[in-house]
């Protein structure tokens, strides 16, 4: 197979990532959660084990041109639908080693022995939501019965690290009263493989949205994250916070980005009923590309067409960092608009700064790809 020429169908023969929402139900009622309000189709049932198995088969068939498929379970809380998770892991195991891998975004409060065992069996990459210490975490992340969750989440994390081979990314939501520097510092105290803290995804009117001053601090804190990344690269360490890695590597490779991400193309979203969208984070605005029960050629073609039709806005055409951004996340831009644009621009500027810092010794940057 030819090495991928990075072009419009960037790296399409390498890896696909499929966000699968096996349920929109969740046992938590986080104050800032956007799912209830904008994503979850009302009263949609959970994905059945049979449909979960079909999903694995359909992805294998639909992405015949791709070497590897990462199924990223999402929701709702995916651990609240263990039968679907179990069915997917078992089905994927019937394919050659390396064909499928798994990731899961979880609130970490339903870590039953069976759940832990399945995560280990599927060698999941776990994205675990931990906002901060208990007073910070529990003020936003509580159960339907208003119970605190921090202690349970930390127990889940420790169990994952002790009893499984899973890699764990800690993810923290930055909001009014809880800064990026505080969130990053907290995550660095935990036994995590990677970390990421990011501003809350909400409109500016909400109570937890960053104030103007906090937003400026957020941008300054991003600079500090960039400084830390430079220090870690200098020491030959893989940065714990990898938010700049893809863009720095893009600069190193000297190529232009042709789309913000792989949505519609090398990335798709699947709802519990099997309907397929470019990304599950797009909510109701997402066009339905097809259904898992249909001929995969249909939804693959629809996805590629949607991706090609999704071009940056006219405003973006004059932006100096367009080649590193290509218009921003199609799921987040409609909600966060200017602030998201500003954050993305800042991320790009910092990536450029990191790249320039190592211009005299660019092989050092290969650590961002795990090459040390």
């Amino acid at each position: 197979m030819a090495v991928v020429a990075v072009s419009h169908d960037i790296a399409l023969d390498l890896k696909a990532e499929i966000l699968v929402a096996t349920t929109w139900q969740c046992n938590l009622r986080c104050s800032y959660c956007f799912v209830d309000n904008s994503i979850a189709p009302p009263h949609q049932p959970q994905m059945s084990p049979l449909l979960a198995e079909k999903t694995v088969d359909a992805l294998h068939e639909g992405f015949a041109d791709v070497e590897h498929i990462c199924i990223h379970l999402y929701g709702g809380e995916p651990l609240s639908n263990l039968p679907a998770l179990r069915a997917m892991v078992s089905r994927a195991a019937t394919y050659p080693v390396g064909r499928f891998s798994f990731a899961i975004t979880t609130n970490g409060t339903l870590g039953t022995p069976e759940a832990i065992s399945l995560l280990h069996k599927g060698e999941f990459q776990v994205i675990l939501s931990i906002d901060g210490p208990s007073e910070i975490h529990d003020s936003m992340r509580y159960t339907v019965l208003n119970e605190a969750t921090h202690h349970t989440v930390i127990t889940f994390l420790n169990t994952l690290r002790r009893d499984t081979c899973c890699s764990v990314r800690g993810s923290s939501v930055v909001r009014s009263g809880w800064s990026l520097s505080e969130a990053s510092a907290y995550l660095r105290t935990l036994p995590l493989h990677t970390i990421k803290a990011q501003a809350v995804r909400s409109s500016p009117e909400t109570a937890y949205a960053l104030t103007d001053q906090e937003f400026q601090t957020y941008l300054d804190d991003l600079d500090a994250v960039g400084d830390r990344v430079i220090e870690e690269i200098d020491l030959g360490k893989m940065p714990l916070d990898d938010r700049f890695s893809a863009r720095v590597l893009q600069l190193l490779a000297g190529i232009e980005r042709n789309s913000f991400c792989g949505a519609g193309n090398s990335m798709l979203g699947i709802n519990p009923d099997g309907s397929i969208v470019p990304c599950v984070l797009m909510g109701e605005s997402a066009p339905v590309l097809g259904n898992i029960n249909e001929d995969p050629a249909i939804w693959r073609m629809n996805g590629v067409q949607w991706s090609k039709a999704s071009t940056p806005s006219l405003k973006c055409e004059k932006c100096p960092i367009l080649s590193l951004c290509r218009g921003g996340c199609p799921a987040v831009m409609p909600i966060c608009a200017e602030s998201e644009c500003e954050i993305t621009r800042k991320n790009c500027e910092i990536a450029l700064r990191i790249f320039r810092h190592f211009q005299h010794d660019p092989t050092k940057l290969l650590i961002l790809a795990g090459i040390s």
Binding site: V3, V4, V6, I10, A11, L14, K15, E17, L19, C30, Y32, F34, V35, C70, H72, Y74, A103, T105, T106, Q125, I127, S129, R169, S171, S172, V173, T194, K196, Q198, R201, D242, R243, S245, A246, R247, L249, Q250, L252, A253, G254, I255, R257, F260, C261, G262, S266, M267, C279, V280, L281, G328, C329, A331, T344, P362, T363, L366, A369, G370, I371
Partner: protein, 85 residues
């Protein structure tokens, strides 16, 4: 047990990865005519293995570049989407 590479060998390998990543002509030559690309007289099994590694590394980097993980939920890149689970 695999043989441990010396520091200079590792650096040479990284230089080759970087060149293959940034120079499409060299990358193509490495695939199609590795003897010429590496200016060597003979292709040993060890060299073939190294070339496979270099090309795999470049493919991996290109995948990582394409899988931009700007949102918390995005797992690759790191990783994929927005993290409010």
């Amino acid at each position: 047990m695999p043989e441990k590479k010396s520091r200079s060998e590792l650096q040479r390998q990284k230089d080759l990865i970087l060149r293959a990543l940034t120079d499409p002509k060299f990358r193509t030559l490495l695939q199609e005519n590795p003897v010429k690309a590496l200016e060597i007289s003979k292709l040993t099994s060890e060299t073939k293995k190294e070339i496979r590694f270099i090309l795999a590394a470049v493919k991996g980097i290109n995948t990582q570049i394409s899988a931009l993980a700007d949102q918390l939920l995005c797992v690759t890149g790191g990783g994929g989407g927005c993290g409010i689970a």
